[in-house]
Amino acid sequence: MADALTTRPIKRPNQRPTPLRSAKSHRPNVLSLLLRGAQGRHWTFAFGVVLLTLVLLVLVLTPWIAPHDPAAQDLGNRLGGPSGEHWLGTDHLGRDVLSRLMWGGRFSVTIAAITLAICAVTGSIIGAIAARRGGWLDELVMRTVDVLICFPDVVIALFLIALFGTGYGTLIAALTISGWTPFARLMRGLALEINSKDYVEAAEILGSPKSYIVFRHVIPNASRPVVAMGFLRFGHKLITVGALSYLGLGVQPPDSDWGAMLLDAQPYMERAPSLGVLPGAAIFLSALSVTMIGQGLDLKKRRKRASEQTAIPVPPTRTALVEGEAL
């Protein structure tokens, strides 16, 4: 690596190279990706976008629009049905269900989003480094991915809880350990593909620093599949967070999320079925919206790939299937 080109990088002040068309149109801007991508997609994509927007809007506005204090008890009005005062009724302590759904959703969605962000960033970085370095590091990373990917995430969470006890740190750590692997594998594949492209080779020959190649070529070109994967995994995370809370191992009282609300509702399922239906429906609709968006983003890519196909198709590899890449 000690050749003249790398030790003395060519300086081009104020003269950025004309961005390649592909690089420009793949800027990692989720919003424009969503809006621009709507045409030519499956109707479920638009449905998912609308649903997700609604859910996020309600959750963001919760402090202003929630009708009651989610913790305010009214023991005289336990398990009350829907009324003008309490639109969705009250729970076993007389707390307003609608307000609890809103505040609980903030917990569920935030935890899922935080873990997802950590997973996507660390997974992508690890995958990109593995692809770039190759050799034993690549081997080590991929073997780790192989192993971690077949461990059920609830079991990993139980293991960590046995070691460190319950808490938000444990929760996020457990979900991260089981969640970074799909991103690492995806990013590794993408980076290998991009690194072999002519424009990357051209940039290397021109003496561009590695960081330039990473930020100019690899990240812009990989962002779309990674974002699609992020949406696909979001629903999964949301369901897992709910499962752990349902088991009493996730969100701890006095905080509450949708899973914890379902747990609270169990003894009263017969007297007040809506208590056990509504929080689950909230998880379901949120997960459905992101699944639809993720698959919608993925679909166009698959269609293009299918139209390019001429030879006998090779089925996707096992891990690609597991990660939902082929869905």
């Binding site: 479920t44 077949c150 046995a162 869905l327």
Partner: protein
């Protein structure tokens, strides 16, 4: 193929070593005296003699380097098992083996149920690609994938056990007890299986050899079964085994809801009660099985599909 095998075996050994170190560390983490925790695993007596605890602390030499303690523990595990459960005072193996049997039954029932519905649906969607049927099936599969089993399960209990009284709401004493948990557990794999079947089938159906078979005069159903199914089942089968490994310990929520004495509930109650030997034994069993099942699947995949074997990195 041979190097592939060696690599996989090596991965398995290293994984087990790492997992066993973590499992060994459980009594040392958290509050409480590790000597008391370890002694309770060794002696079949709930009340601990303080003198004995003292003696054990000395005997175990908790001041000794921790790696010698680890190797002692590993030796004990490999020769005599994980010891006694804190709560039920029975050897861990006697708890794990029946629980595994229950979980295997439940997982197989759920996954076969999912497969029985997913295959026709996926094939139907693939043959009617882009049409109304395809849209409906896609929507259904996306919904199935997004439905938490801890929501579907209790709602089904409410309807079929409480209101209609057709099925028991929980327990594990007869064949009718498997229906509700299996259906609840089958829903998400059903969605995934359908999507994968559809994707694999539509890939295969657009292949030239299908056109060739059709132009030779083979009827469409025959083409579908002889060429389509055979070539599209591989991804579905691998997904099946992945879910199977996952459900062995991962169906915690359903086992808790339906009060099923499976592996997931065993681990869950062990964690709640801080029943260290059961956690250690259960974790090692489940994680070993998960790695073994997936390794075997990968091997089979390579055997059944030479195209993958050539390009596979592992």
């Amino acid at each position: 193929m041979f190097t592939f095998l060696i690599r996989r075996a090596l991965t398995l050994v290293v994984t087990l070593l790492i997992v066993s170190v973590l499992a060994f560390l459980i009594p040392y983490a958290g509050d409480g005296d590790p000597a008391r925790k370890i002694l309770r695993a060794r002696v079949n007596d709930p009340a601990l003699d303080p003198a004995q605890v003292e003696a054990l602390t000395h005997e175990l030499g908790l001041d000794r380097p921790i790696y010698t303690q680890y190797f002692d523990w590993l030796h004990q595990v490999l020769t005599g098992g994980f010891g006694f459960s804190f709560t039920s005072r029975t050897p861990v193996q006697e708890l794990v083996v029946p629980a595994l049997g229950v979980s295997v039954t439940l997982a197989l029932a759920a996954l076969l149920l999912a497969l029985v519905f997913a295959l026709p649906l996926g094939i139907w969607a693939a043959t009617a690609r882009g049409g109304k049927v395809d849209n409906a099936i896609t929507f259904m599969s996306q919904s199935a994938v997004s439905a938490p089993e801890y929501w579907v399960g209790p709602v089904m209990v409410l309807i079929f056990a409480r209101y209609l009284g057709w099925l028991p709401s929980g327990g594990w004493t007869g064949p009718e007890y498997i229906v509700l948990p299996a259906v609840a557990l089958a829903l998400r794999p059903l969605g995934y299986f359908t999507q994968v079947t559809r994707a694999a089938m539509s890939d295969v159906l657009s292949a030239p050899y299908i056109t060739a078979a059709r132009s030779r005069g083979l009827s469409f159903p025959r083409t579908l079964v002889r060429h389509g199914l055979r070539n599209s089942m591989l991804p579905v089968m691998t997904l099946f085994s992945f879910w199977f490994a996952g459900l062995l310990g991962g169906s915690v929520v359903i086992e808790v809801i339906f009060n099923i004495p499976g592996m997931g509930r065993l681990l869950y109650t062990a964690v709640l009660n801080n029943d260290v030997p059961v956690i250690q034994g259960g974790m090692l069993w489940i994680l070993t099985l998960a790695v073994v099942i997936n390794t075997v699947t990968d091997l089979l995949y390579g055997v059944l599909n030479p195209a993958i074997r050539v390009s596979s990195h592992g």
